[in-house]
Amino acid sequence: MENDFSLEPLKKRLPAEVRALGACNAFSSKYGLVLSDKQLENLVVRRYEALRENGRVEFGEGIVKKLIIAFCDSPYIGPLDWEETLLELQDAFYFYKNEADELLSDDELIDYMKQTFNGAAQGSLEYLTQTSLEELCRTARNGFIGDVENEDEDESL
């Protein structure tokens, strides 16, 4: 039988995805953060690369939209580093989804990233990705996720 049932190459959907993501500009522009079409395309292309590198499959619009909404009000992000920050956050998100062994939902992980980025990390992506997320995922794998959340609450007091 010659029929190939491989899934359609998702990159065919690139223009539609760029358009859909562009709608987020209306929300982030309130904070002075707007992505150009080229930057939006970079984000979508990098999403596929991150998924492939991390061995993941994603349905729907991807995680960037949620990242934009979560991070656009951060005091540590300006228009000049908006795209670069999103690209790194997106990479880190998929990497740590694997590292957490599927024990964290998208919202839990993004919420933790946002709290840490705006809190202990003070806008440092390096601190966020190489220290806090490592610890979060290690703790999640060991089944003590509540402890990390409580520690964060204690620190903020």
Binding site: M1, N3, F5, K97
Partner: protein, 302 residues
């Protein structure tokens, strides 16, 4: 081989699909996968590992194939009918098979031989775990248990999930019931002769016993004695020396019939199983005949 190509034989029996149907089926499979992934993650994760997606897709294919087989259709049904409804039918059939499997497992435990064999006991215990761990909603194709015991005729490795387990249990019950027809001490003596460490090694317990019973039936001796003496072996050899392949196989088949009649085995699948055990002896007999000794096929327990 990519997982997706495994759908190919299902569609192939009615000839190649048109490009439009193939495209529609691809899209519908993708939709089903998307929906199952959403259910699996409770919509809390937009992405899953590639391995998880592949397993979910394989499970969908397994469930759809159950549905196609039940209805005598092929993957073309996916182009004509609501995919979710087809999958729901597959899930329903899987549930029914699971219930049937539980009954088969109970029967396998009830008919289990009291012979000592580590892999036999471990496998029976392991299959019990299958019914606790089997997740037919998302991973219906998986067999989450260890099964080391070798049947005389292994189940086709292409069988998956509960379909594999049920077929394995059906065959195991046939073997159990057969072994249960003989006095345990006689069975043990034949097994000792077949494999001195039959308690610890991965061997099939049924095959040497059935072979000896067939040997005795060929000579019209009492099969319940199980042991085939060297004299009797020589008589079997003399019998086969006179026969060419076809009559020899016929004789073996007839002996299998005599064994079934003597043991009161009336169940057709069991009769076929025993007949196949008997006729499969022919290549071994043929190879041993020029050496004039069938003593390593039909075993003397004395």
């Amino acid at each position: 081989m990519p997982e997706n190509k495994k759908m190919a034989p299902v569609g192939g029996k009615d000839g190649p699909l048109s490009e439009a149907d193939a495209q529609l089926i691809r899209e519908r499979l993708l939709k089903l996968l998307q929906r199952r992934t959403g259910l699996y993650t409770l919509d809390e994760s937009s992405s899953v590992r590639v391995e998880t997606a592949q397993a979910l897709l394989k499970s969908i294919q397994f469930l759809l194939e159950l549905c196609f087989r039940e209805r005598g259709g092929s993957i073309r049904l996916l182009a004509k009918e609501d995919p979710e409804a087809l999958l729901a039918q597959g899930l329903q059939l899987c549930e029914e098979k699971l219930e049937a499997g539980k009954a088969l497992y109970a029967e396998a435990c009830l008919t289990a031989s009291s012979l000592e064999n580590r892999s036999y006991k471990d496998t029976l215990t392991g299959i019990g775990g299958f019914f606790k761990r089997y997740d037919y909603r998302f991973f219906a194709h998986e067999i989450p248990c260890d099964m080391d015991y070798q049947l005389c005729f292994p189940v086709d490795e292409r069988a998956l999930g509960v379909a594999y387990i049920n077929e394995y249990l059906r065959r195991l019950i046939i073997e159990n019931r057969f072994l249960g027809c003989f006095e345990i001490s006689r069975v043990e003596r034949v097994l000792e002769r077949a494999c001195p460490d039959y308690r610890g090694l991965l061997i099939n317990l049924y095959e040497p016993i059935c072979t000896n019973a067939v040997g005795l039936a060929l000579l019209e001796e009492d099969i319940l004695l199980l042991s085939v003496s060297p004299d009797q072996c020589a008589r079997v050899a003399a019998l086969f020396h006179q026969l060419s392949a076809t009559p020899a196989k016929k004789a073996l088949s007839g002996a299998a019939g005599s064994v079934c009649a003597r043991l009161g085995i009336t169940n057709a699948p069991a009769q076929a199983y025993i007949e196949k055990t008997a006729t499969d002896l022919y290549p071994r007999i043929e190879a041993a005949l020029p050496h004039g000794n069938l003593g390593n096929i039909f075993l003397s327990a004395n």
